[in-house]
Subunit: 214 residues, 2 copies
Amino acid sequence: MKRLPIAERREQLVEAAIAVASREGIDAATVRAVAAEAGVSLGVVHYCFQDKDELLSAMAHEITRQNLSQSLLEMPVHGEPDVIIERALDLLWGGISATRGSQLLSYELTTYSMRHVEVRQVSVNQYLVSHEAASQFLETLARSASIAWTLPIETMARLVVMMTDGVVLAWLADGDDAAARENLRVFAEFLSGHARPVGADGVALPTRARDASA
Amino acid sequence: MKRLPIAERREQLVEAAIAVASREGIDAATVRAVAAEAGVSLGVVHYCFQDKDELLSAMAHEITRQNLSQSLLEMPVHGEPDVIIERALDLLWGGISATRGSQLLSYELTTYSMRHVEVRQVSVNQYLVSHEAASQFLETLARSASIAWTLPIETMARLVVMMTDGVVLAWLADGDDAAARENLRVFAEFLSGHARPVGADGVALPTRARDASA
DNA sequence: GTCTATAGTTGGATAGAC
DNA sequence: GTCTATCCAACTATAGAC
């Protein structure tokens, strides 16, 4: 546990910060607590990070990456659009419901960032990463299911982020897993309602399309 | 500014707490800052409230009431369902977008409550009040527009709360008023899609109903 | 690079004069 | 009921020995 290069030490401390903050909340993630969690002394943290805000920012960046990357990479192959959409949301929900502390921490970081100018970038980054992930999610979904979206991808992505936040917040509040899944089912219906079938090459199939213009 | 009955003093302090917390965030709402905001000395606050948590709980209860009561009381009269729904969401948004600090504070209180057992009731209360308000909103809407909802009122209410949270969070993050209104427009379409017309007396009109069973 | 020790703040809570 | 004064705990941050 001694004499690590500073880059590795920083990684270790960020992981420790994530651990303690996910478990006990953002207020509990003091420099002291992080040092204790990592098994180093207080001075080490201040040697690796200029101040607490820099540590918090690094932690936020990493947890945003972790929360979103895992759920969105695997996607079902081909099949009926409605089935694929519902299955994709199931996978998404699996990744979320298994990481309650991280999800809650993510919202704590959002509000914290909105109140403290020194870490303003955190919520901006969360916003950008979430929307990028949602866009990729929708595009992969469209390719897998041979569909196109009836609204611009940016609009759809914002709706996906919005609904995901809503579902997760409600679930954090009441812990009702069944209700969250029910919400996702309605969410899936909503997505299906804004999809129109296209050929495998991406060309619309006018005979089945609900709206040839759009 | 002297010798008020304790009930009035408590009200005054709660208002001061709301003011400072809405303006500067939950972390800035220290007992000292609240006392200064109210123009009283530190001891007065501890005389009126057993500890900080009791003050925070009182503040949370009051701001939850304020945030939700104002927007939901006025509702348009009769007319075409789609128009009424969109107009109702416009009114809702007006009440929200004018109170950015309060909205953000509400989410800060939610996450704070979820991490501190002593104020656990705060988020439970937020949940209950929000769902009750959403249910009333939907019922008033149904009466005004002479429609019925195709899903159980509890399910619909949870969806309304969920979507409202999502829209507000996204708006807090990027401040994009136009995008929020666009989201609400889609939200309105969603609501319209789950409404079916009934007679003014609440009886379904089978000739126009999309689904006579439900 | 890592440790201990400590300076310097801030904030919750209480005691006691008025 | 209200004020001032004070205690005590926890935290960020730095200095300096090793």
